[in-house]
Amino acid sequence: MKPRLQLLDKATIARILDEALQLLQVHGVKVRAPEVVEALASAGVQVSDGVAKLSARVVERALESVPGKFCLYDRAGNPAVHYGGDAVHFDPGSSCLNILDAGADQPQLAQAADLVRLVQLTETLPQFAAQSTAMTCDDAPKEIGDIYRLLLVLWYSQKPVVTGAFSAETLRVMLELLRAESVGQEALRRHPRAVFDVCPSPPLNWGEFGAINLVDLARAWVPAELISMPLAGAAAPVTLAGSVVQHAAESLSGIVIHQAAQPGAPIVWGGAPAIFDMRTGITPMGAIETAMLNAACGEVGKSLGLPTHGYLIGSDSKALDAQAGMESGMAAVVGALSGINMVSGAGMLETLACHSLEKLVLDSESIASAQRLARGVNAESSSLAVEMFAESFAKGGFLKLESTRQLFQSEQYLPSQVIDREPLRVPGETLVSRAHARVEELLTSYQRPPLDQAAEGRMLAVVAEHAHAAGLEGWPGITTVEVTK
């Protein structure tokens, strides 16, 4: 058996979905994009003053056309992320503004070079099946911040990408960029490389660009990932169950908008639900209740047979310390045991405001340990111990057994040197110093995956016009040699 975390029983899930439908029917969802409102109205949805009231039938019809699974592909066209079922993948957290360098007291505004290093590091860590557009780079104009960070990730990585657009206009450019890399729309549709996070605004609101982006992604057949963010007590009911109901209602409304635009287009039941700290007003991503919310929301999505996503492993600590390890380690276990298809958030500190490369390698150890836990205790062999005992007595110890040599690496996860299991204390060594050494070691081993020159040219051409208009000079994060070769 494989261990699973289950927070909701079937009856509770049924109640959650029932109340979510009640919210959608009675209160409806505010949609601030007139063209989307119009499309919903012509699809038979009752709309008044921008509020769409969704009947159970409308929701059921949308759910009928949603694919239960799909893949994201790496640059070579291999399926690398399997959305649907119980597959669990991890990617770094996204969209922060700051980076905390090893040993620094204060974070700095992230530059393109910082994002490049994080992408390169992620590329070397097998725990991460996907990249994320992790930071907004201060040295790229804000108007093209989302476009530019995607360019950097595609430039330096062959893994699939979890990303998102900051506006309807920039989404269109980002889709162009993906087509430039994938050689056209049809290739992108068959082998999507990226999934786009799209956020409703709690409670029960779709802002203009969020709603438009859902429609544009559906029409482009590029996967969308719903990121409903109920904040328990502030922008959602204070109870965890109440917030899960709101998450379900917002996610169902997103699915209706999305499937109305293009039935059958891929979409993920995702989110970043969190509690609201009543003392400070922050949304503690490291709180156990936040992890519980993500797991519970994932369970509701899985009950509908949908691909799932959650936001876990970020810490509220300001430094790579025991709190960061505790919060992120616990959340990694919750994510792995919940069977959430994509768990975003690794590497982040300060309530998602800051990335740390050192934390990313520590989190990769938490993830590997959680993945080991999720594989459970293997008891499939004909003899569990008796045969090994017999052989051990004959040979004079377990260390002399071939089975020991063969199996120990699948039975035990061997952490990197970030985790201190040395028998003797090394003077002056700390978690941060070990993590930093590991970061440098991995970055030294990084080799840029091949990207053909024609694709590079197409990608730069897509971005160039917008970069120029925004006043960008040069290509921060991309070396001159690479650009001119």
């Binding site: 900051f166 802002g207 009543m278």
Partner: protein, 225 residues
């Protein structure tokens, strides 16, 4: 009698009991208590107590918000009475506040508006997704001292700069001070766009608003002398 009533008013705010605070306000009018005294000696001490306890982490956001609501309920009764009497309450200042265009996040902005109102500012809340020029237009209309802007997204925070440019174009700067906040907003960003103050949270925003008013008063006094 007034002392007991003032104590009850204070307590109604601490309890976040809007129905009690408004009933006491009506009662105070019937008893002939000066509305300004009711506000200053009854309700504001309640608000101050909640603010102090919030800072000490013994009271929480719901207490703060409900105290603000209770204060507002009392003001809704007392302000028309002040107007009827032809009297005016001395306000700390006038603030126009909103979440900038493209952004529909409301919680932070509304908390700041509630806290500013409770602290004694006259607040005009423009809501969310507010067009850039609307801040300047409203500030001009109500003779605002401060324009407060919230933005929760890295993209929409650009709008804070545009609002400042709009205030400049309308010739409202530097007499109208600008206060910014929101999750991605930092002190450094506030400085970069030429804002006068930054509040990391609602309590800090009120403190910064008070200090902006104090520094302006000091500057005015300097000019006058």
């Amino acid at each position: 009698m007034s002392t007991e009533t003032f104590a009850a008013m204070r307590q109604s705010v601490i309890d976040g009991a809007s129905s009690v605070s408004s009933a006491l306000a009506r009662q105070s009018i019937e008893l002939g208590i000066d509305p300004i005294r009711a506000i200053e000696q009854g309700y504001i001490p309640g608000v101050n107590h909640v603010g102090e306890q919030f800072a000490k982490r013994t009271m929480f956001f719901p207490d703060l918000v409900m105290a603000g609501e209770a204060m507002k309920a009392a003001l809704n009764v007392l302000e028309p009475e002040l107007e009827r009497r032809g009297e005016k309450r001395q306000m700390l200042g006038t603030v126009v506040i909103g979440t900038v265009k493209g952004d529909i996040h409301e919680i932070g902005k509304s908390l700041v508006a509630i806290m500013l109102t409770a602290a004694g500012f006259k607040v005009y809340d423009l809501g969310v997704d507010v067009p850039y020029d609307k801040f300047a237009a409203r500030a001009q209309e109500v003779n605002a001292d401060i324009v407060g802007m919230s933005a929760l997204l890295t993209t929409t925070m650009q709008g804070q700069r545009k609002v400042i440019e709009s205030l400049d174009r309308a010739g409202l700067r530097p007499q109208v001070k600008v206060l910014v906040g929101g999750a991605p907003v930092t002190r450094q960003w506030a400085h970069e766009i030429g804002a006068d103050g930054y509040g990391a949270n609602a309590v800090e925003a009120v403190a910064v608003a008070k200090s902006l008013m104090a520094s302006r008063a000091a500057a005015d006094a300097g000019t006058a002398s």
